[in-house]
Symmetry: C2
Subunit: 407 residues, 2 copies
């Protein structure tokens, strides 16, 4: 099969948005526009659905300045989709790219997007159609295999750490139990990031529940009680994906339980896990001040909280994708590898190594208790959070002797 | 009654934390330490409760550097309390400050805290005890009378605007209905701040529901449907305090309704309003993608998102409080008054004018539809958000002609 001629390049974005996904898209566009063999750079609106519908935009006409502005804007500027293409869908994708003479396809997304790229790549080869297919990593869940970490995760982790830093201060000022529910159905990386919000030894989160360890209600209540007795307060970070010992998600079991109670009249929404964990703590432990917050979409699209390391790397994976396409001889997924403290290199890995696979927190990142992270995790995450992390400070407690009451 | 001698000064913080409440506390401490007549500056831990329990810390021994670091840290560094003192409680406060020879009492808080200061001030006068009592304004709700706005609100408003800016981008990328529930039981200022997250004319929030206007489910569904038909998506900002035409909070009525269904087995938590509004939209309008987020404590204590105007003013009301105490002849509440675009002056207002009173959004800030804000509100809020507000940018839509399908 001959190498593609690269006259037309296509880029698209899939899955949940991140704060830096546009860096990767702009990395592709600006790098591709440098190559003389590239005549047009197209973007597809709303991912694979936009390809099938031929909803293309000509990014060759976009100004460099606006591209740079868009790069700093969170969420997918080309729009996204939750469509998970099956073989038939992939054939439609292939049909559209072929009709438009696309010779190079870049898809920015998670492991599902990598799988789409894998199938499209196979179809192009089978049809002897010369097209380079490159997957560019993105996910706040940090659950892609091969990669040390994935663009989007460091900024989301920073947001989670800063939110818990504030929640801990709030909980110190008005003591009680605070439960924050963090995104991540299968991997606990983002929830674990809450630990980076700690400054002083008695700071929260005092408990971190990740999906990598089975969640047990009795242990949870015992843990909360122990922290309340020790510190007079307790800050808890919980992954939305926590599951029981039978790997059944706690959120589902709670919904089922409440649904039964309510004879099918109640359906629980995004805040259900936080609300129901709070209720259990209130009912069983009888504490007055119990609050549960679900962090929601702000984790992936809040504007104004970004890791500069994440921005830079998200840009670079886009640039590298184009370089691998132009100078290389094979399709693949751009992967990030840590080479020092802190430095990274990029490689082009086989699509099969990333596509459809899920990485979870390694054991060495989780303490034996199962409710905290190790120093190895702190060392892993800290450089990713980037420059200018805010600090929390306290007054020193120079107590004044009591007069009316015995000290 | 003679003027106090000012040998001992006391500062405390009450109510919900804000991101800049420590600026006011540090403003008091640093300014008070400049006066030769001030021998000691005490802080009470956990507000009025700390005063009654004589839980005092000597802030005269704190370093200036640490005070400056604490000033930039969100949430109440002296701790806070939800206690709302009655007359008996205020007598205990007075007893403790008298025992410690406090001659000047500064209390940073909202309208309840102002009322506490008012009662303590009256008791001091009645007992002919020479003590200056000054209330320093603070609240993210922006609901204090007399004031143009209150410290804490601008930063919370900025956080809400930035969160909606991101949520709007997210909702553009993956279209559907997004409902964000914002703090504010009686005043809609913080919810209205969501409007400052808009850049382009079709940006969300497309609908803003404030407690100042009665909430009606049918109108809500009609409004959401109209926006879905117009834009293919809909971003909604809802105040947690929205009430029906009988001034009954919607959150309460939903809890009552669900409780009835569940025979008393279900109790709804912090995320209930967002979840149940989402459910109604899903059930009645049959849209697939509906998400409700409750912004939670991050609105008042997130670290790393701050209005420099808010920081400055929060510091200044603390400083001015000390100056009014030292050079003035009366107790009062420090109030902020807008004098230009944008400049402010501070005054010492009578405690009765602020204590226990609630300000809500004036009619001129709300459109006739009742679901949006006016330009007058935008002009009012924009300067408060401070420097460096992030911008959202879009790709220009230079469409590529379709080949396979008719355009």
């Amino acid at each position: 099969m001959s190498n593609p001629s690269f006259s037309k390049v296509l880029v698209a974005q899939g899955g949940g948005p991140t704060a830096v996904i546009n860096q990767s898209m702009v990395g592709v566009v600006l790098e591709a526009r440098k190559f003389h063999c590239v005549e047009k750079v197209y973007g597809a609106f709303h991912g694979v659905r936009g390809i099938v519908n031929e909803d293309f935009v000509d990014l060759t006409q976009e100004t460099t300045h606006n591209l740079e502005m868009v790069a700093e804007t969170p969420s997918s500027a080309l729009g996204s989709t939750r469509d998970k293409p099956d073989l038939k869908y992939c054939l439609d994708i292939f049909r559209a790219v072929r009709a438009h003479g696309i010779s190079c396809f870049f898809y920015i997304g998670g492991n599902d997007s990598a799988d789409t790229v894998r199938i499209v790549s196979e179809q192009a080869r089978a049809a002897n159609y010369p097209m380079r297919c490159i997957h560019i990593p993105k996910t706040i869940d940090n659950d892609l295999t091969v990669n040390d970490h994935t663009p989007g995760f460091p900024t989301a982790a920073r947001f989670v750490a800063q939110t818990f830093m504030g929640a801990n201060l709030d909980n110190w000022a008005l003591p009680g139990v605070y439960i924050g529910v963090v995104m991540g159905r299968h991997a606990g990386f983002l929830t674990a990031a809450a630990a980076l919000g700690k400054t002083f030894p008695d700071d929260g989160p005092h408990l971190i529940y990740m999906p990598e360890r089975p969640f047990d209600f009795d242990s949870f209540l015992t843990d909360v009680k122990a922290n309340m007795e020790r510190y007079g307060r307790c800050v808890v970070a919980v992954s939305e994906g926590i599951s029981d010992i039978h790997q059944r998600p706690i959120a589902n079991s709670l919904v089922a339980q409440v649904k039964k109670d309510a004879h099918g009249n109640v359906e629980l929404g995004g805040g259900a896990l936080a609300d129901l964990l709070s209720k259990i703590v209130k009912d069983k432990l009888r504490y007055n001040r119990v609050r549960g917050d679900t962090f929601g979409y702000a984790q992936r699209s809040f504007i104004g909280c970004v890791s500069d390391v994440d921005q830079r790397e998200a840009r670079e994976v886009g640039e590298k994708a184009v370089q691998y396409a132009m100078w290389g001889e094979r399709d693949g997924s751009v992967t990030i590898h840590r080479t020092g403290f802190y430095s990274v290199s990029y490689e082009l890995s086989a699509l099969e190594e990333v596509a459809g696979k899920t990485r979870t927190m390694p054991d060495e990142f989780i303490t034996a208790s199962g409710t905290d992270v190790t120093d190895a995790f702190r060392l892993y995450l800290r450089p990713l959070l980037g420059k200018g992390m805010p600090d929390a400070h306290r007054l020193r407690r120079n107590a004044v002797p009591k007069i009316l009451t015995a000290s």
